[in-house]
């Protein structure tokens, strides 16, 4: 039988805060175990949580980016379960009054994935098991997490990855999270079920817990879809359960079934008053929001007349897009600026292993350089030669060009003697050209350029050469 795949994701995104959700401990990754801890995140007797205002703000910003309704009044709850990585044996989370409601993620190609809600919660500690003993590192305990819960709108493993990629791009873009996958900044629980094509009712779902690589999620989904398809084809029922993905074996395994599901006994967290937000507050935070990458892509194509590919590359990186737009405004030529950022600037950043925002090159300097080029004050080779210097040390292109006399010579009277000299010195090349060897012209242009110390207008040199040789 043909089946339709139904996937929903619950994605935990670590918020970019300096301190934990409910105490003043730092959130830096990779510290000595149990060095970022205090009575609050260790669950010591008498310790109480206090709310990290930045975590609220970042979650609201994420919600606004994703088109959610922001709850004016939200609340925290206790989720009760015993496990050694939980210092209080309850997790403070938001069960039925989350901060953000609804929302959506638009996938490339036009499909829209609806969100159910986004809520805030605290992370747990990290367990390490050794023969005969286990260790707990509470450094991560209490780190603020946003849980972004999608509706079951995804229809394939590829679509799930497209959704996560788009989500990750937006969260990085909004400055809400670093979404560093290696550091576990973005972890997903995947719900997947199958239903016969055309059937409306959902099939029995299986949840695969806590995966932090996109390739792992893709592989686990492909495996699980195949497993469920096979089971259904054989007439075996799917059991509602939680499964674990083993990346080494490439298989999923049962963790617990619905009958053994825990009763978390949620109830309102009495140590924290409800979070009350005013529209003024939300509006003020909305002002700090960047334009969503997809919208920016569209706008940049229109505003600067650049191709979709260029706009896509530039808009995917908020800092690069900011750099491009500032440079393009300065130069007054969007297409030229796009060409230069895409080719020359990105080549330099790749070579230096840095980001343009961390280099000495300001968008104003690039804009000025391209303005000089556009006005034919300097030629292309001069501009290209100057760029690495601006990238490394900065500087004002116009001043440099003036100081070093790099302005291109576009005066035919001045260049003509150089052309004549080059022709006289290279009779064999002239003969080759006349015999139909087009490449010979390039050599001659180079000879004239050399004689002009690089300042001659290459177009002018070429046209003079053509005249003389015809």
């Amino acid at each position: 039988m043909e089946y339709e795949v139904v996937i929903g994701l619950e994605t935990h995104v670590q918020l970019k805060t300096h301190t934990k959700m409910f105490c003043g401990c730092g959130t830096a990754f990779g510290a000595t175990p149990n060095s970022h801890v205090c009575p609050v995140c260790l669950g010591y007797p008498g310790a109480l949580p206090t709310l990290n205002g930045r975590a609220i703000r970042l979650t609201v910003m994420a919600g606004l980016m994703l088109g959610c309704e922001i709850a004016k009044r939200s609340r925290f709850d206790r989720k009760n379960y015993f496990y050694p990585d939980s210092a209080k044996n309850y997790q403070i989370t938001q069960n039925d009054a989350p901060l953000c409601l609804g929302g959506h993620v638009d996938l490339p190609g036009g499909r829209t994935v609806r969100l159910n809600h986004i809520h805030l919660e605290e992370d747990v500690g990290k367990l390490t098991h050794r023969p005969g003993c286990s260790g707990i590192d509470f450094n991560r305990a209490g780190t603020p997490l946003m849980e972004i819960v999608s509706e079951p709108d995804l229809r394939s493993a590829d679509e799930a990855i497209a959704y996560l990629t788009a989500l990750r791009e937006m969260m990085i873009y909004a400055g809400v999270s670093d979404c560093n996958l290696e550091e576990g900044n973005m972890r997903s629980d995947v719900n997947v079920s199958l239903r016969p094509k055309g059937q409306e009712a959902y099939g029995v779902k299986v949840e695969i817990k806590n995966m932090n690589t996109f390739s792992g999620i893709h592989a686990a989904l492909e495996y699980e879809i195949a497993r469920q398809t096979q089971a259904l084809d054989r007439g075996q029922p799917i059991v509602q359960e939680t499964r674990r993905w083993d990346p080494d074996l490439g298989e999923t395994f049962t963790m617990r079934t619905k009958e053994n599901a825990e009763d978390y006994r949620y109830f309102p967290e009495p140590d924290l008053p409800p979070v009350v937000l005013t529209q003024e507050q939300i509006d003020a935070w909305a002002k700090d929001l960047p334009e969503a990458p997809a919208a920016r892509r569209e706008r940049m194509m229109k505003d600067y007349g650049i191709p979709e590919y260029d706009a896509g590359v530039l808009s995917a990186d908020r800092a690069l897009a900011d750099f491009f737009e500032a440079a393009a405004k300065r130069s007054g030529n969007g297409k030229l600026t796009s060409n230069w950022v895409m080719a020359e600037v990105l080549a330099l950043t790749a070579k230096e292993g840095t980001h343009v925002k961390d280099s000495a090159l300001t968008p104003e300097a690039l804009g000025d350089l391209l303005k000089l080029l556009d006005a034919k004050t300097i030629n292309g080779p001069t501009a290209k030669a100057l760029l690495p210097e601006l990238f490394a040390q900065g500087g004002d292109p116009a001043a440099i060009v003036k100081e070093r006399g790099l302005g291109q010579v576009a005066d035919a009277g001045a260049i003509e003697p150089l052309v004549d000299a080059a022709l006289a010195d290279n009779p064999k090349v002239v003969a080759d050209y006349k015999a139909g060897k087009q490449a010979a012209l390039g050599f001659l242009v180079g000879q004239v350029m050399k004689r002009s110390k690089g300042k001659a207008s290459p177009q002018l040199v070429q046209s003079l050469l053509r005249d003389k040789l015809s």
Binding site: Y44, P45, A47, T50, F267
Partner: protein, 480 residues
């Protein structure tokens, strides 16, 4: 030195300021009466003689250097659920044996900054779950006034220490009457401040939405002295309110000595004077009301119609929060641990051995009322009734400045009685839980004694943050 057993906190501070005695002399005098009392009264779980004397010597040095502070050199007893850095903090539970608090509670830090000395830690019902101090993991406390009887609880150690003259003053915590009821049984003053007035940070949580820290003292004046030190917003406690804190030591200033309650209306909630009330308690409460009238107050009967639901509502809200708050005591990070091959076994054994029967009973009850399928019938419904109870109080305070009522239905009963009857114990909280459910302020003050010599207190209740009026009336009405 005056008789150490009757010395008040204000009297001690006056003596210290006048250099009639030193803090070391005062502390030593208290230690001299505390130590022998441990064999029978057993008011303390821990006595820190060495530490207290060192702090006293430091206070004397500061005073000799010309310094003063609101409580400089005054020894205070702390209930065993309050964190004092470097001291044990067991909440009278075996499961916290060996745990040393690594930080000061906010109230501790405030007392310390005011110059107070920490004498020791008073006995209590285990995790404040009880009203007799008999559920303590370290043995019961005896009432120092009504000998052979319970001192009340859960702050029974603090009440016995102050009532027995073993401490000048103490702090207690009140979740459903745990300050007021023992204060009444031991003949002292006990204040449950408005929820949010005093920080809970560093206090071993019993039921977070109900707990408040308050003073237990010999006089209303002493209670005001302590309230003025411990009150106020704390950034470490999100439920403490950031609003101005009026000075309570001035609450009765300027009152007409003949008619200090002139212009004040005191409500008598009729549900609090029901059939179950002991005749002597009723008579002493009514006598207090008459005195209030003679001091200028207008009396008026009021109704708190949802009072009969107070006990079930309280025991659902409280046990639910307790079940979560006590989950952290698992032997993993601190306190006593009973090792086992697997983590579940360690949890089960540690908690089975470390926690007493009453604690287990309430954790089980709380777990039950929050369970899927029962949540709406119990926890959710109790929250709704709690709102109705709060509205009862709002309506009463719309027509009265304060309410006057008994604290407990009967005077202190003999040790050991009702110990196997939890419901009987729970019902004795009927007159005190209302203030915690509503969040309002309340205070027990001495009102006399029964024919058998058992102390009886009365209760004054005030609206949220109505402490100035509460203290003004209590100061006029207390029997000194």
């Amino acid at each position: 030195m005056d008789d150490i057993k009757t010395l008040t906190l204000a009297g001690a501070l006056e003596g210290l300021r006048a250099k009639k005695f030193s803090s070391v002399e005062l502390t030593q005098a208290l230690l001299d009466v505390m130590k022998p009392s441990q064999a029978d009264i057993h008011a303390f779980v821990t006595i820190d003689a060495e530490g207290a004397l060192a702090q006293a010597a430091e206070a004397d040095r500061r005073r000799a250097a010309g310094e003063d502070a609101p409580l400089l050199g005054a020894p205070i007893a702390m209930k065993d659920n309050m964190s004092v850095i470097g001291q044990p903090c067991t909440a009278s539970s075996r499961i916290l044996e060996g745990y040393i608090a690594p930080y000061d509670a906010t109230v501790t830090a405030k007392l310390r900054a005011a110059g107070a000395i920490f004498l020791g830690r008073t006995n209590m019902d285990e995790f404040a779950l009880g009203s007799t101090t008999q559920t303590s993991g370290f043995g019961p406390t005896e009432n120092p006034v009504a000998r052979g009887c319970i001192p009340g609880g859960s702050s029974g150690g603090s009440a016995a220490a102050v009532g027995g003259g073993l401490a000048l003053a103490a702090l207690g915590t009140d979740t459903g009457g745990s300050i007021r009821q023992p204060a009444s049984h031991c003949g002292i003053v006990g204040v449950k401040p408005t929820y949010g007035r005093v920080s809970r940070y560093g206090i071993v949580a019993c039921a977070s939405s109900l707990d408040q820290v308050g003073p237990m003292t010999k006089t209303v004046e002493d209670a005001a002295l302590l309230m003025d030190v411990i009150s106020g917003h704390d950034p470490m406690d999100a439920t403490s309110l950031d609003i101005p804190v009026p000075r309570l030591a001035d609450a009765w200033a300027g009152a007409d000595p003949a008619k200090p309650l002139a212009g004040m209306t005191l409500g008598l909630p009729k549900e609090y004077f029901g059939d179950g009330l002991d005749p002597e308690v009723r008579a002493l409460t009514e006598a207090a009301a008459k005195r209030a009238e003679a001091l200028g107050a207008t009396l008026r009967e009021v109704s708190l119609p949802y009072s009969p639901y107070g006990i079930p509502t309280y025991y659902i809200c409280m046990t639910a929060e307790v079940s979560a708050n006590l989950a952290r005591f698992d032997g993993v990070r601190y306190g006593a641990r009973v090792s086992c091959d697997d983590v579940l076994g360690q949890y089960l054994k540690t908690r089975a051995q470390g926690m007493g029967a009453e604690v287990k009973r309430r954790v089980l009850l709380g777990t039950f009322v929050l369970s899927s399928g029962y949540y709406d019938a119990y926890y959710n419904r109790a929250q709704k009734v709690r709102t109705l109870i709060k509205r009862d109080f709002d309506a009463a305070f719309a027509t009265c400045d304060l309410l006057l009522a008994p604290v407990t239905p009967e005077p202190a009963w003999p040790l050991g009685v009702y110990q196997d009857d939890p419901i009987r114990n729970y019902l004795s909280d009927v007159l005190t839980v209302g203030a915690n459910l509503a969040g309002c302020c309340a205070m027990a003050i001495p009102a006399g004694a029964t024919a058998a010599g058992k102390p009886v207190g009365i209760q004054l209740l005030g609206p949220n943050f109505g402490e100035p009026t509460l203290f003004r009336a209590a100061h006029a009405l207390e029997l000194r």
